[in-house]
């Protein structure tokens, strides 16, 4: 499975790099496929409500044909509904791909994964009902294909296919059931999304506005410029030759037509079972990198910050059982079942009392001390602290530019005291390279780091630290020029600053925040 994850990561990184080059990391759609899928679900519900007003179960194809004949709204809303659902399939598949490749499919994420698989299945079934509702040649082909599969199950003694034999007209009850399912399933999916995201704090349900508008706008333009045609009405006594098939939803149709039904069922059931088993197949022992975070109750002052920063709501405040001196009545406690070992809490705790083993603030401070213990009188280089998932390929180029490169599992782990200590030890400056915020495996690492460094979020970088000497930048795979630019200008800034303040102490208050915008600059 690890090998498969690695194999899946390669094309993903290539695609990520390409998309970042084209659209920039802020608007790389591949970084936010989950949010895009949720936004598209919203768009589908809105356009679907419009279509619902005109749909008639008694004359399905005719009612859609009437919509199609309306050149102002009907035709393009119908197309938008169709293309948005196709885009949603693409978004969801890429979303699942990404989380699998990034090893985010097991342990505390198993609920999100398995509910995601169910959501995808629901999406396919809603698509099936939606197309059958139209009752064009494609709809009838789907209905017959589905009936053929259903009849292979020992459920009904009368084959469902007899409904579509052509000796009687299709009862409107059939279209009514379809319509009911087509409305109920997406609403159920919206409710299922709640389960899907139940383990996440502050799930990002919408992509940044510009990306959202661009995606909706592009789909609207496509619907206006090249609306989807309406296939002829289904005729049960015709053998259709060219049926316009939506392969995003009916990819299974050619196989189901060619294979014996039992084999088609085995394929479908096997794929579903395998997808549901992924969390089990990709699970890791909770040791080393994957140890859950723990609270050192002797250090905890009950400040309630780590529960606020944990992106998985894995920390809660509980009454203290043993009073250690005169500390708080409440103490933080990590639920290991929900903790994904992201380490974001390590950076959130001023007294350094929480974090996965080896990554707490104390561990980080010890590592900095160790790194500078025998620095002696040699000239110290500026430090580039990089998230190990960002773009390891660019580290060599940073080293070539005189950076002292350090790796961290997630930028959100970094304790500001470790940054301060690095400067005190003599490093002329520290630049932290994070992943693009929407692609952080710790979900909120870059965001919280930025807030702690520049906006006084608890466990903040102390005022005494000169902000001219610290900076953050995004290291997006695919945007090497920006990474190197950020570094060279930071290094140049340090040099210029050193030249100015030669022999003087840094004047901290004169150099306050210089935040790097993580969201779209206004």
């Amino acid at each position: 499975m690890r090998a498969l994850e690695h194999t899946a990561l390669r094309p993903l990184r290539a695609a990520d790099a390409g998309a970042t080059r084209l659209f920039g990391w802020r608007h790389n759609p591949l970084h936010q496929t989950g949010a895009l899928a949720a936004a598209l679900l919203g768009l589908l519900i809105i356009t679907g409500l419009y279509l619902l007003v005109f749909y008639r179960v008694g004359a399905p194809w005719q009612s859609v044909a009437r919509l199609q004949a309306d050149p102002f709204l009907g035709r393009w809303i119908r197309s938008l509904h169709r293309f948005a659902s196709d885009a949603m399939v693409v978004a969801v598949v890429l979303h699942a791909w990404r989380l699998f490749a990034q090893a985010r499919s097991w342990g505390p994420r198993a609920l999100a994964w398995t509910s995601g698989v169910v959501l995808l299945a629901v999406l396919f079934v809603s698509g099936w009902t939606g197309y059958v509702m139209v009752w064009d040649t494609f709809g009838a082909e789907l209905a017959v294909g589905g009936a053929r599969l259903f009849d292979a199950l020992p459920v009904l003694s009368e084959p469902v296919r007899r409904i579509f034999a052509g000796d009687q007209s299709i009862p409107s009850a059939f279209f009514f059931i379809n319509l009911f399912l087509h409305v109920a399933l997406p609403l159920g999916a919206a409710a299922g999304l709640w389960i899907h995201l139940s383990r996440l704090a502050r799930p990002a349900l919408l992509p940044p506005r510009p990306l959202l508008y661009a995606v909706f706008g592009a789909l609207t333009l496509l619907s206006l410029a090249a609306p989807s045609p309406l296939a002829p009405e289904a005729s049960l006594l015709a053998v259709e030759r060219d049926i316009p098939v939506d392969l995003f939803f009916a990819f299974w149709l050619p196989w189901a037509n060619a294979l014996p039904p039992w084999l088609a069922w085995m394929g479908a059931a096997g794929t579903f079972a395998l997808a549901m088993l992924v969390p089990w197949l990709t699970r890791r022992p909770r040791t080393g990198t994957w140890t859950p975070s723990v609270v050192d109750e002797r250090q905890c002052t009950g400040c309630n910050q780590c529960p606020q920063d944990c992106p998985w709501d894995a920390v809660s405040m509980v009454p203290r059982e043993q009073a250690h001196g005169a500390q708080s009545t409440m103490v933080a406690r990590v639920n290991p079942v929900r903790c994904v070992s992201c380490g974001v809490c390590a950076g959130s705790c001023a007294p350094m009392g929480v974090g996965p083993l080896g990554h707490t603030g104390r561990d980080q401070v010890a590592q900095v001390r160790q790194a500078y213990s025998n620095a002696g009188a040699r000239e110290l280089r500026p430090v580039a602290i990089c998230c190990e998932h960002a773009a390891p390929e660019y580290l060599a180029a940073l080293r070539d530019r005189d950076a002292d490169v350090r790796l961290v599992p997630c930028a959100g782990n970094i304790h500001t005291s470790a940054l301060e200590l690095t400067l005190r030890a003599g490093a002329p400056g520290v630049m932290v390279f994070t992943c693009p915020p929407r692609d952080c495996r710790g979900r909120e690492g870059p965001k919280w780091l930025h807030e702690r460094m520049f906006n006084d979020r608890e466990a903040e970088l102390q005022v005494r630290v000169n902000r001219k000497r610290v900076a953050t930048a995004v290291m997006a795979w695919g945007d090497r020029p920006a990474v190197l630019d950020a570094w060279t200008s930071f290094a140049a800034r340090l040099k210029a600053y050193d030249a100015l303040s030669l022999g003087q102490l840094d004047e901290p208050l004169g150099a306050l925040c210089e935040p790097v915008p993580l969201e779209e600059p206004r």
């Binding site: 659209f23 082909e141 052509g166 000796d167 592009a218 333009l221 060219d242 392969l247 149709l253 020029p481």
Partner: protein
């Protein structure tokens, strides 16, 4: 060159356009459907197979021993008939096999749905459904006059019910032998009209 430069914007636009074109193309892939072939002969019907029963007329004494609600004059044991279905096109046999009622015990109506690929043109179509199991007449050796008017009335009703059931069931033979023009890309549908107890051929909606 940053992603905000013009060449980048143009490239982004081009890639978006291609992605949209692919999305549309994937949404409308012409597929040559139906594995069945160019033209199709479709058989589709639901019909009740005849019940093959061995019936015995109970004596008055036997009847008196039964609980009130189980006093049926004729006691029948049996099963539903099997039929031999033969389908021929221009004398060539497409199918010749046994068909029976649905359900595990074959005691439900016979639901049949089959499709055969046929080449377009003028064809002689033969379909024949013939009962395999011989029917059995009621055994009436223990005949006795019914005791009382109510019992006699019930016996008549029972006989009537059996007659109705037999009339609703498939007859011993149903057959269709006809010249058929099979049009290209069309389905010739043969269904069973239980009222007339015959096959009906349909080629248009």
């Amino acid at each position: 060159m940053t992603h905000a430069s013009w060449p980048h914007r143009l490239a982004a636009l081009a890639v978006t356009t291609v992605a949209l074109a692919l999305l549309r193309a994937g949404s409308l892939v012409p597929l040559r459907a139906t594995a069945a072939g160019d033209s199709v002969l479709r058989l589709s019907w639901s019909a009740r197979p005849e019940r093959i029963e061995q019936c015995r007329r109970l004596t008055n004494a036997e009847l008196a021993e039964r609980p009130q609600h189980m006093r049926l004059r004729w006691e029948c044991e049996g099963r539903f008939a099997r039929y031999l279905l033969t389908v021929t096109i221009d004398g060539q046999v497409l199918a010749a096999d046994t068909v029976h009622g649905g359900g595990l015990r074959h005691d439900r109506p016979m639901h049949l749905f089959r499709e055969y690929a046929v080449a377009p043109g003028q064809r002689r179509l033969g379909i024949r459904l013939r009962r395999i199991d011989a029917n059995v007449r009621p055994d009436s050796t223990s005949d006795q006059t019914a005791a009382g008017a109510a019992a006699a009335d019930r016996e008549t009703r029972e006989a009537q019910e059996r007659r109705v059931r037999r009339a609703e069931a498939l007859p011993e033979v149903v057959a269709l032998d006809t010249l058929l023009t099979v049009a290209s890309q069309r389905v010739a549908l043969v269904s069973y009209a239980s009222g007339q107890q015959k096959f009906v051929l349909r080629t248009h909606d």
